[in-house]
Symmetry: C2
Subunit: 482 residues, 2 copies
């Protein structure tokens, strides 16, 4: 072993106290291991606590059943394989779907409460305490690939619920006997031969070392806050907003690589676009050439991803009748910045090519007269002939006037990274040579998880906790070689 005198000795060291770290630590502790979690911030939570708190769960959970939806693991798998694809990780996804009902119950046992009612309108985030929401399952083309069932599970909280989830998971980890060391940043792994046997960290400028008898679990999050890593691996996100707690600098990915861990799909990203679903479904989303490019009832993450690749700027276009039909609670403070009697006027106002909106709306209305969206199959319940006067919103301005929230208008896009360390379904970090790195485990956005090129809300808290628990069980059952 390297010449290290350890300050602490435990069975398992978990690095990072977001959702994956909480799940891994609790699972290892429940399996009998002594566990310490190192968190560089002054308290647990990480980016998970700042998230919306949606959990992508299904297969027939109690909330789904109470709301009258019949689901099963195969149906859930069919949707996610398509929505997270192409090229979702089918081995991980299969386990994730097969274990989803049990995983839902685990959240409840941890103290996360779900109101057994459905929020049945397009939105980024329900303004209610409803425990179930649609996350794209009821939009084309997924309606043709799986039986539409809502699987967005939310704690009983109005608005952003990440803190609710994390409060429960942190408490559950504590109850299981997990110890937490905050203000403690892991700086290197200690190896003995090719085996990871500990962690060296910094705490207020002092070095502190941890012997991990069974192993180390990296749950440090992604790398959206690291500009160099973005430039090297996910340059598409450069210049856009960051969905994180500011500490997602890829430190754990680098730690894993430093001992031979392989990385995977580092260019995969999630992006969110500040366009208002309730407005889009009633009108249309067009690109900088006045063209539609997606069914506007698509899951917001899906229309965001599509918009990210369009010639911009994109616009939300709606007619007066549509605008007035939006419930106040679904408006999120958005008011049109542009209004015009005719499409020709609106084209000039928005800088769109002459005739482009007229052509787009003309074709839309031609199909709408037959009650269908002939291009993208938006649900007929949202399809009607659009007539002036017209309004337009620039999604780059966000959901509320800048003066109200301090929001700075930017690209309108913000996101995070989905690539990271290559892991087995049991959370083992896989080396460049294709074998597990002895003693090293990882979960959450420090790893490449179930995702291919697509993303759905709730799959990061979902895959982070699900595979975090698996990693925690695996490391707890491991016997180190020294």
């Amino acid at each position: 072993m390297a010449d290290v005198e350890f300050d602490h000795e435990v069975d398992v060291v978990v690095v990072g106290f977001g959702c994956a770290g909480a799940a891994a630590a609790q699972a290892a502790a429940l399996a009998g291991a002594s566990v310490v979690v190192l968190e560089r911030a002054s308290g647990p939570g990480g980016s998970s606590a700042q998230s919306g708190g949606e959990l992508y769960l299904g297969g027939g959970t109690a909330v789904q059943q109470a709301c009258g939806f019949a689901d099963d693991a195969d149906n859930m798998f069919a949707y996610l394989a398509s929505a997270l694809g192409p090229n979702a990780d089918l081995d991980k996804l299969r386990l994730y779907c097969d274990g989803s009902v049990e995983h839902f119950e685990w959240f409840r046992e941890c103290g996360v409460e779900f109101t057994e009612s459905l929020y049945d309108a397009p939105t980024w985030m329900p303004p209610t305490q409803d425990g179930l929401m649609w996350l794209g399952e009821n939009a084309w083309p997924y309606t043709e690939q799986a039986r539409p069932v809502p699987r967005g599970h939310r704690p009983s909280t109005e608005g952003w619920a990440g803190h609710t989830v994390m409060a429960a998971l942190v408490a559950a980890a504590g109850s299981a006997g997990v110890e937490t060391h905050v203000d403690t940043r892991a700086t290197s792994l200690v190896v003995d031969g090719d085996e990871v046997v500990g962690v060296v960290a910094r705490k207020f400028g002092e070095s502190v070392s941890y012997r991990a008898r069974n192993g180390v679990v990296l749950t440090t999050g992604g790398f959206v806050d690291n500009e160099d890593m973005l430039a090297d691996h996910a340059p598409a996100l450069l210049g856009h907003g960051k969905v994180s707690d500011g500490l997602d600098d890829g430190s754990g990915i680098a730690l894993g690589q430093s001992v031979g861990g392989a990385i995977r799909r580092m260019a995969s990203i999630e992006v969110a676009y500040t366009a208002l679903p309730a407005m889009l479904v009633r009108g249309m989303l067009v690109n900088g050439l006045g063209q539609r490019f997606i069914n506007e009832d698509a899951y917001p993450g899906v229309f965001s991803h599509a918009a990210f690749h369009q010639p911009g700027p994109c616009w939300a276009i709606v007619d007066e009748a549509g605008l007035e039909s939006i419930p106040e609670q679904d408006l999120w403070g958005v008011r049109p910045q542009h209004a015009a009697e005719t499409l020709a006027e609106l084209e000039i106002d928005l800088g769109l090519p002459i005739g482009s909106l007229e052509a787009t709306v003309g074709l839309y209305n031609r199909h709408a007269a037959d009650g269908v969206d002939g291009l993208f199959h938006k649900n007929p319940k949202w399809v009607r002939t659009l007539e002036g006067p017209w309004a337009a919103v620039d999604p780059r301005l966000g959901f509320a006037p800048a003066g109200r929230t301090g929001q700075t208008p930017g690209s309108g896009f913000s996101g995070f990274t989905l690539g990271g360390l290559r892991t087995s379904v049991d959370g083992e970090v896989i080396s460049l040579a294709g074998a597990p790195v002895p003693g090293l485990f990882a979960a959450g956005r420090a790893t490449s998880g179930i995702h291919g090129d697509g993303y759905v809300s709730g799959t990061s808290l979902g895959d982070g906790t699900f595979f975090g628990r698996r990693a925690g069980r695996t490391v707890a059952s491991r016997t180190g070689s020294c």
Copy 2:
């Protein structure tokens, strides 16, 4: 040093005899080093020899001057920074543009001959021996970002010219004293401490080892032929055609990683779509919803990249007048598979949404009546009002009837990878820790080069040879530590 008895001892070992390997080997030999190139195939050439042979060069070459074009390095830089971007490597690109005239002369000194005439029509590959061609410089939006000057330099060969280039470079390397060992596949690097000091290879089942006193240069090409690496890093290319000699399996990238080399932008790819430029400029390219998405006079690599991200299938649409105006030599054997008197009939025939082509052509003609492409700024010389009867071509069927060439209709897309080892501008492989790996160098598609998200023909042979030469000079001047 590791316990290796070396079978051969030289100053420099180059792994892979494509264009980057040839350039590196020759440069090292000209600088006085003894050099052996290991090539796993039975002869040199690699994917470079099977390429089109375009060389992206400019800044005022003799061919440009003879054809009456004034260019300079800044103008070349302005175009490439945009066309290879966003996020082109500006440090490498600056050197590449500043050194381009000298690099052109180097090709001539190596024996590559260029006819001093311009092929002035949109094409993938001129059917003539003209030495100069446009590679997108004369298409919007680049016309607004740099003075349009053609920079596609081609050896005096009709059609695909990669073999002509490689024959000259291989001969030049030989003349400089470079020794070649074919049928010899490098399997591992020999390290002494953290320094690369040699290579172990396999030749007909026997192990053969090489001491490299100065260092090793990896020039093995990309990884499009490695399905596992594609799945891990560039899954978008899975299921599409491969532009390679069949041996681009990422072996050199893996060798570099095995000694701590970092990788960069592994998801970056080039794709080519078998759509006919001469037909597109005279008509339009539409996606599976009947929408245009690019100016059809864009460089083919640019319209290919755009088509790759469209909802498919895409179609080339042209009217009778346009079709009949295409010179026979620019038709490449393509004949329309679909013909119709009206757009309504053509929509049904192609499975496009009812009214979609009518709307697209209607808007196009509205602008064309004013002599402009109001959406994408196709050069006015290609813009006219389109009238029936109509023809359509499915680019997935390729450039000639399947029966004629044995070509199997597929996705219509084929490509290769642009990501690889991280290198300094001098060809040093950079470690995960950000420092050069002592004794290890790389160039060509085994590395991440000048490219951001864009690609232009001639920049792989261009950047491979340019930075190959730099790597060869660097390794020749190095003194190993043992």
